[in-house]
């Protein structure tokens, strides 16, 4: 069974005059478990919209999205929220850490909304600390985002994305706000940690340097 199945997907936007503007159209897309795929497309091609639909943040106008066998279109909004919290890890271009929380708290936050998993707080905290160590930030656990560089913030975001041992990691231009050195380091972390955890990875980008690190690169307009 594929980890992700997308069939006959359409996302349309209704214009003020009532006509529809097609933002995204995918006939078929399959992602196998633990696969690492890069989706390329120019700016405005619908890459972010694709990730929003896969994660259940946005509902498609047509078609189906199945994540680990569960058809997201059959779930309520609350159901999609829960599925997203438990199964998907997000890495955003602009990091999207909460300014009022420390690095450790931002990582743990990724587990708070994952539903009742009966896990002790101490276990979650230990796992968060381990992840921060893996991304090289053991000494920054109690620092707030404003005290960290952009590269460090993105590392915290990666740790947050992995806290729930997700089945799928969605990365939306994760190196878009970083310099060359940090881009390379962050990308390496995402690839290695995703591989180590057995999670599938779907990364969208328009950066050729990033595309070059993937064995499978798909053009959005061709799916």
């Amino acid at each position: 069974m594929s980890l992700l199945e997308i069939r006959d997907l359409e996302v349309n936007y209704e214009k003020p005059d009532g006509s529809l503007l097609k933002i995204l159209a995918i006939r078929e897309f399959l992602l196998e478990p633990a696969a690492q795929v890069c989706i390329k497309g120019h700016s405005g091609s619908g890459k972010t919209t694709l990730l929003n639909v896969i994660s259940g943040i946005r509902t498609p106008s047509k078609g189906s999205v199945k994540l680990d066998g569960a058809d997201l279109s059959q779930l309520s909004e609350a159901g999609r929220d829960l599925a997203r919290g438990r199964n998907i890890g997000f890495v955003f271009q602009t990091f999207n850490l909460l300014a009022g929380f420390t690095a450790l708290e931002n990582v743990i936050l990724g587990s708070v909304f994952a539903g009742d998993q009966n896990e002790e707080d101490s276990v979650t905290q230990k796992r968060a600390l381990d992840l921060l160590e893996k991304v090289g930030l053991r000494e920054r656990v109690h620092h707030r985002p404003r005290m960290m560089s952009s590269g460090e913030q993105q590392r915290v975001a990666i740790a947050r994305a992995l806290i729930n041992k997700p089945k799928l990691i969605l990365a939306d231009e994760p190196t878009g706000a970083l310099d060359e050195v940090n881009s390379r380091d962050v990308l390496e972390l995402i690839l290695s940690l995703a591989s180590a955890s057995g999670a599938g990875l779907l990364l969208v980008t328009h950066d050729p340097a990033v595309m070059g690190r993937f064995s499978k690169v798909i053009d959005l307009k061709n799916i």
Partner: protein, 486 residues
């Protein structure tokens, strides 16, 4: 991490706004706490104060003034009543106990009350409670000494009148003029061989004045502390007893034997009747009654028969109270007042003021809560990204709603706790002034049940204030919040 942790972090992130809005809530809460605590304690103290007095009897005038004077040792006596009324009521079978009082002096602001030993040995300042001595003994009192002293005081009054000087007992309605009737030698001659003048102090009076057993003190004429007032230097009293606390206004009084009150040469019994009219006028105006009552009327108007400031009555039941109330009020020379009724009337008047003040305080809390909601609303633009991130991490709309309402409740709770503390601090700061005004202490740090209700109410108001911003957060579009350009 819990939702509570998220709420606390959100509030800390906007610390200035959180502190200012909490402070505004605290002000409203503090006002309510202070107003209602002072009101509740005052009502209770007033009730305790009058619980031992079925009726008070004094000169015609304001019943409330009479009650305040006799029961709470506040205000001036409305005037004097004939001693014969006391004798008459002593024989009334409806009355369990009647005790006489004479007032007019103070020591450092504490009321000096002339009384008989019966007051200290048989009167119940609260129902079922008697006075107890912490140390010493009750002063000596003899009826014969009292009659002699009253007679002497009346004769001094007559001589005063003849010389055009007038100074009545009671500290009366008018500010008395000071006049020395006798020289020092006269007092020594008068008091030759007499026992010391004795006083028993209320617990609070003893504590505040620092007087101990065996100490002497000199009274100042007048019912209020006045450094310029005439001091009865030649008539010192000796403390022979100190009472245990009773929780009533008696704690703040200094009791002296009634006969020694009249022995003060500055105290005279005026040569006019109890209605404040001169003796000749009284005889002309009440000719009918005089003809009817004969000798009794003459005796009442005879200053040498003695006068008192007031009487306190304990009766055998409510029917006795009502009967005596009517009969005494029908007299021309006295009035009776029921302390419970007069205090209820007073509290009704004051109660209206309380309600206005409490309403104002409630308005302050509501306005503060609205301010909290507005502050949160104004910060929604900053919060949208955070809300979108939490939604992207799996938070449901309802969870976001709860976080926002929770933050408003937290701000209200902080304000509530601070307000309770501030309210009690206000009470502590106001306590000395309250004690000076009404004679009893309000414990500043004792808590009452209503405070829990006030706190709960503040939380509810805070929650309501948070609903608006919470609805806005609930409706946040996640995709737009995460990626403003998409």
């Amino acid at each position: 991490m819990t939702l509570a942790r998220i709420i606390i972090n959100n509030a800390k992130q906007r610390m200035l706004s959180t502190v200012l809005t909490s402070l505004s809530v605290a002000v409203g809460v503090a006002l309510i706490i202070a107003i209602l605590t002072i009101k509740l304690v005052s009502q209770e103290r007033l009730r305790v104060g009058y619980s031992g007095f079925d009726l008070v009897v004094g000169a015609k005038g304001s019943p409330l003034q009479l009650v305040l004077n006799v029961v709470y040792n506040l205000d001036a006596s409305p005037g004097n009543i004939p001693y014969s009324l006391y004798e008459e009521l002593q024989k009334d079978e409806r009355i369990k106990l009647v005790v006489p009082f004479a007032v007019g002096d103070n020591y450092k602001g504490f009321r000096i009350v002339g009384a008989t030993d019966t007051f200290l040995t048989k009167f119940e300042p609260q129902q079922g409670q008697h006075f107890e001595l912490a140390s010493g003994r009750v002063f000596h009192f003899e009826e014969a000494e009292l009659r002699k002293a009253m007679k002497d005081a009346a004769q001094r009054g007559t001589r005063n009148a003849e010389r055009g000087e007038e100074k009545a007992i009671g500290g009366g309605k008018a500010t008395p003029t000071v006049s020395r009737v006798h020289g020092k030698g006269d007092l020594v001659e008068e008091n030759k061989g007499k026992e010391v003048r004795e006083s028993v102090l209320g617990s609070e009076a003893a504590l505040q004045t620092g007087l101990k057993l065996g100490d002497t003190f000199v009274a100042t004429h007048g019912i209020q502390q006045n450094e310029e007032g005439e001091k009865h230097e030649d008539d010192p009293w000796t403390v022979v007893g100190i009472l245990k606390p009773t929780g009533t206004p008696a704690d703040r009084a200094m009791y002296i034997n009634l006969d020694s009150f009249y022995e003060i040469k500055g105290h005279v019994i005026a040569s006019k009747d109890e209605g404040g009219r001169m003796k000749d006028e009284a005889e002309a105006g009440s000719g009918k009654e005089k003809a009817k009552n004969g000798k009794k009327e003459e005796k009442d108007n005879d200053p040498e028969a003695g006068q008192l400031s007031s009487l306190a009555l304990q009766t055998y039941g409510p029917f006795a109270v009502l009967g005596l109330l009517k009969e005494i009020n029908n007299r021309e020379d006295a009035q009776a007042a029921m302390p419970s009724a007069e205090i209820r009337k007073l509290l009704t008047i004051v109660g209206n003021v309380d309600r206005i003040l409490v309403a104002q305080a409630v308005l302050i809390i509501i306005v503060s809560a609205i301010g909290t909601g507005l502050a949160m609303f104004n910060s929604m633009n900053d919060r949208r990204r955070d809300i979108a991130v939490m939604r992207a991490l799996g938070a449901r709309r309802g969870t976001i709603f709860s976080i926002m309402v929770g933050e408003a409740v937290l701000i209200a709770a902080i304000g509530g706790v601070a307000g309770v503390a501030l309210g009690h601090l206000i009470i502590q700061l106001a306590a000395p002034a309250v004690q000076m005004a009404v004679g009893f202490t309000i414990p500043p740090w004792s808590f009452h049940e209503f405070e829990a209700l006030v706190f709960a109410g503040v939380l509810v108001v805070g929650a309501l204030a948070g609903i608006g911003p919470a609805v806005s957060a609930y409706r946040t579009d996640v995709a737009t919040g995460l990626n403003p350009g998409v």
